[in-house]
Amino acid sequence: MPARLKENTAPEAGATELLPPVQEGIFSLPAAGETGGPRLMGGYCRACERYHFPRERHCHRCLGPVEAADLGDSGVIYSFTAVRAKPPLGLPQPYAVGFVDLAANGLRVFALLDPDCVDHFKIGAPVILAVKPLGHDGKGRPCLRPYFTLQQHPAESEA
């Protein structure tokens, strides 16, 4: 199992690969036996040469067809915050969210940030995509959520 594809230790969460994503098509996981981590998935319009996240049904500019696009797995933090109030959707307390500027195409996307690093994020810090069971789908069912974690884990940087 790749490092960035962690399994939740909570017994009710079940095996990661059996859980549905919080929304279809927003990330891809490596196939069995493949190396590498999850990739953020979005859309691309050939006519407009535009990437977007999440994938648009029709290109917002020309209403033409869009194709699935790999948006990479890394970026830098544009802004971040830790939510310390009672969390929605069964997320941890506290948890963190932010905007990440994707390295591959400059898109600025809203993202969950690693709840294990809540107090270590900085604007400009490089982050990398991970996926694990995090919270529920609004109906109490556990699901997979993509999130960005620090490329250099605080424990490592202190070591």
Partner: protein, 381 residues
């Protein structure tokens, strides 16, 4: 285009109204506005009702028809509007448009919300939205702006906290405000953190409340000395640009520019502003979008007292959302009720001396770092 005036305003205390229904709150505000207008209700030929949570929390539908019928208004066009935090002010814009086009002579607008109910939790931008699914709650969307504003412009925790101190001080003089007790800078800074760097008193409180306006076309008012002219009332939506700039807020800036253009006025013409201070950082960014100061200077503007009652350009002398409370769909109407009271010179303890021109600014909901709706109205005596 016909001139449009506010001829009646009504508002009930923004508080926890446990024993009252959403209809109760709305009817009382509407009743006050009609009484204040001095006209008989059956002359009001159109109605606009705004609520965000009535359907979700109480299964309500066509509540405007119920409310308006209760105050003697029926037969004409009535619509029920939802536009998140800008629901009430969007309703005002629709009424303004209809009157300015000569499609109505008198319109009533009511914005009302009953949201002090168990288990409501933090508001989001719709449960099927991708950002909601990824954990976005409304305070976080503003905390992200705050973090960036601090990073780019050196805005300080103390400057942001000064917005709460000011608005709570203003609210203490407003009999309908949710909070009647001021807070100190230390209290704001040391309060529990909701989402970094926003502490609890930097987030507007939920409240139950309702506010109402009676609007009249210029051809329908005659020699009404208390009529307040609406010079412009614009409604816009986000452009969702990517990359979005969280602090140079394009939608905010564009909406303010548009209102100034339509009114033929600019920031220097204003005597007071009611703006959408859902969170302290929001008020600071709105200063900048409204042109009350340069981009990046908003923190300093509040800290130097320019936006306090008695300052150069008082902002949220009503207490704003932070002090008056934020019954979502009522807020946009309440802002205009306040501007009207100020321009009539009837705001008592919180009166801005010699106020002739006021602006009300409201925003609603998040999408991709932008606002889904924004309204700006400029009024003059």
């Amino acid at each position: 285009m016909t001139d449009v005036y506010v001829i009646g305003a009504g508002i009930i205390p923004f508080a926890r109204h446990e024993a009252s229904s959403l209809t109760d709150l709305s009817v009382e505000a509407a009743y006050q506005a009609i009484k204040d207008s001095g006209i008989v209700p059956h002359r009001i030929d159109s109605g606009y009702f705004a609520s965000v949570l009535g359907g979700r929390l109480f299964g309500d539908s066509t509540l405007g028809q119920s409310v308006f019928a209760e105050v003697g208004i029926s037969g004409g066009p009535i619509v029920n509007i939802e536009n998140a935090c800008a629901s009430g002010s969007s309703a005002v814009c629709l009424a303004y448009n209809a009157l300015s086009a000569g499609q109505s002579d008198y319109a009533i607008v009511v914005g009302a919300e009953k949201m002090c109910v168990p288990g409501l939790g933090l508001l989001n931008s719709g449960e099927s939205d991708i950002e909601t699914k990824l954990g976005l709650v409304t305070p976080a969307s503003f905390a992200l702006r705050a973090q960036r504003h601090m990073y780019e412009f050196g805005t300080t925790l103390e400057q942001m906290a000064q917005v709460s101190v000011k608005n709570r001080r203003h609210a203490a003089a407003n009999p309908i405000a949710f909070f009647r007790q001021p807070v100190t800078l230390e209290e704001v800074l040391n309060a529990p953190m909701i989402t970094d760097p926003l502490t609890r008193p930097q987030c507007c409180p939920m409240a139950d409340g309702a506010a109402a306006l009676v609007l009249a076309s210029g051809s329908a008012i005659s020699n009404n000395k208390r009529a307040i002219k609406i010079n412009a009332a614009v409604l816009t939506s986000g452009s969702y640009q990517n990359p979005i700039d969280l602090v140079r807020w394009e939608t905010d800036q564009r909406s303010c520019r548009l209102a100034y253009e339509k009114a033929g006025m600019g920031p220097d013409d204003l005597d007071l502003v009611e703006c959408h201070d859902a969170f302290t950082i929001a008020e600071i960014i709105h200063y900048e979008a409204l042109g009350l100061c340069e981009v990046g200077e908003g923190g300093r503007l509040v800290a130097e007292g320019a936006t306090s009652l008695g300052g150069r350009i008082p902002v949220n002398v009503s207490g704003g959302l932070i002090g008056r409370g934020h019954p979502v769909a009522a807020t946009g109407v309440a802002q205009i009720v306040e501007v009207v009271a100020q321009l009539r010179g009837e705001a008592k303890e919180r009166q801005v001396d010699g106020a002739k021109v006021g602006l009300a600014h409201c925003m609603g909901a998040d999408r991709q770092g932008d606002a889904r709706s924004c309204t700006v109205a400029i009024l003059s005596s």
